[in-house]
Every structure is written in structure tokens, then in C-alpha cells.
Symmetry: C2
Subunit: 119 residues, 2 copies
Amino acid sequence: MPRSTRRRPALSHPAAEEIDLYDVLHALSDPTRMTIVRVLRAEPERACGTFPVDVAPSTLSHHFKVLRESGVISQREEANRRFSALRTVDLERRFPGLLDTVLAALARNETGAEATWHG
Amino acid sequence: MPRSTRRRPALSHPAAEEIDLYDVLHALSDPTRMTIVRVLRAEPERACGTFPVDVAPSTLSHHFKVLRESGVISQREEANRRFSALRTVDLERRFPGLLDTVLAALARNETGAEATWHG
DNA sequence: TACGATGTTCGACGAACGACGAAATTGCCG
DNA sequence: CGGCAATTTCGTCGTTCGTCGAACATCGTA
């Protein structure tokens, strides 16, 4: 039998008012993490292993931690799966328009001139 | 006599269409560089040494280079001074609303809860 | 109970980052 | 000409970053 209902430490999320802009910008300045955010905007919730990113599981786990501790996403445990979701409401309250603007910029970025020779 | 009218290599600026979002977000994820951007939004142009940041001149020069090569600012030489300006038009064309939204978020960030104990 | 699936933690590694001081460049001015 | 002021370049130091593999934990299920 499990020795306790909750053996793993609770997932740490910053409160909405404590989300730091520099942490958010740093979290969004990585292509792998940005891909996670982009996918997560289309779907309300998604399990960690189902993202179209090409990195090792441990690396992916690291990126989720960065996103979570910066306040960009929240994570919820269910069985041995971990579901992630964008903290759209908290983010909008703290930094109005930021997430939408950055995601719109991301769409522009992919049609930019450097996609031909830079990537 | 000077051996040439232009001895120093020309300052490299990315074209407006080549500005990369990840470079911009990374450039803005540092407090010193963000201070430069904030000051530069209030004034159209300013010499490098006149910014209210507390780092060594060589460090400051490094930050200006990061900002310039990411496309956030432009730099112009005049005598032995170098003037910096925000590339507001190019930025607005490439990523509409991004700069304004981030700077509005910065104002929010400074009145946040973490300013009491985190700074 | 044992296995497989899911995901994390723990080092390790090379690359990049932010910071500095020293030296060099450039141009103005006494 | 000879400083002085502004700024960059170079080398260095310590830290952080992104990545990986190996090991561990948890849960459902055969």
C-alpha cells in the first residue's frame, strides 16, 4: 500500500501577482518552450509526453519546470501523468496582452526572411 | 593624419524583416538592457554613457551590442560618441504591438509583489 | 507481484552569458 | 603635440543554460 496519498512534493507555482516579467521573457526565449506554449494555446490541457518536440524526456522535463516556475504554465498530476495548461487568466491579469502579442509575433517570426537560411 | 575616413568596422544591424523573435525576447530578458530600452522610449536618442545603469563601461558596451544585433536598437556614430535609438518603426512592422506591450508589462512588473523581497 | 509506461531527479558536459579590468581606438581641445 | 573623454575590443572568471544518459519513483495492468 502507498505509505501516503501524496509522496511527491507539491508542484510549485508562483502566485499570479508574483509572476516576474524577466522570468517570463526568458522562458519564452527558447524555441522548444515556445513550441510548448504555442501548442498549449490551441488545447486547454495536454500531457507532457505528447508535445511535438524532439528532445530527450529529461530535457523536456527541465523545460516544463522552467515554464511552470516562471508562471507561464500550470501543471496538474493525474495518476502517473502530468497535464500542463497555459495560465492565460493569471498572465492576462498580470501582463495584459503580453501572451497574445508574443504568440502573434511568433507566427510572424516563422514567416520571416531568416527561416530560409537561418534555421 | 587619419589613414582612412572610416577605420572602425561599420555597425551591423539586422534588416527589419530579419529580426528574430527569440533574439528580441532574449535581449529584453535582462534588467540592464530593459532599463536601456525604457529610457530610450522616452527620448529619441541618447549617448551610451548617459544611461542610469550601474555596470562597467565594457559591460555596458556588451549590452548595447546585444540590443543592436537583435534589432531592438540602432546605433549611430558621431565623433567619438555613439548614439542609440529604439527601432520602433521596424519593430512595429515586424512584431506589431510587441514593444508597447512589453514596456507596459515592465511598468506592471515594478509594482508587483516581488519588488519587496526579490529585488 | 512483476512489468511497462510516464515522468522526474541527479550529475555531467560544452556552450553561452554577464561581469570585470586592461589596453586600444577615436576625436576634441588646451 | 599632448592629454582627456568616450567607447570598444580582448582576455578572463564564475555562473547559468540546454542537453543528455542513468537511475529512481509512481501507477495501471497482465
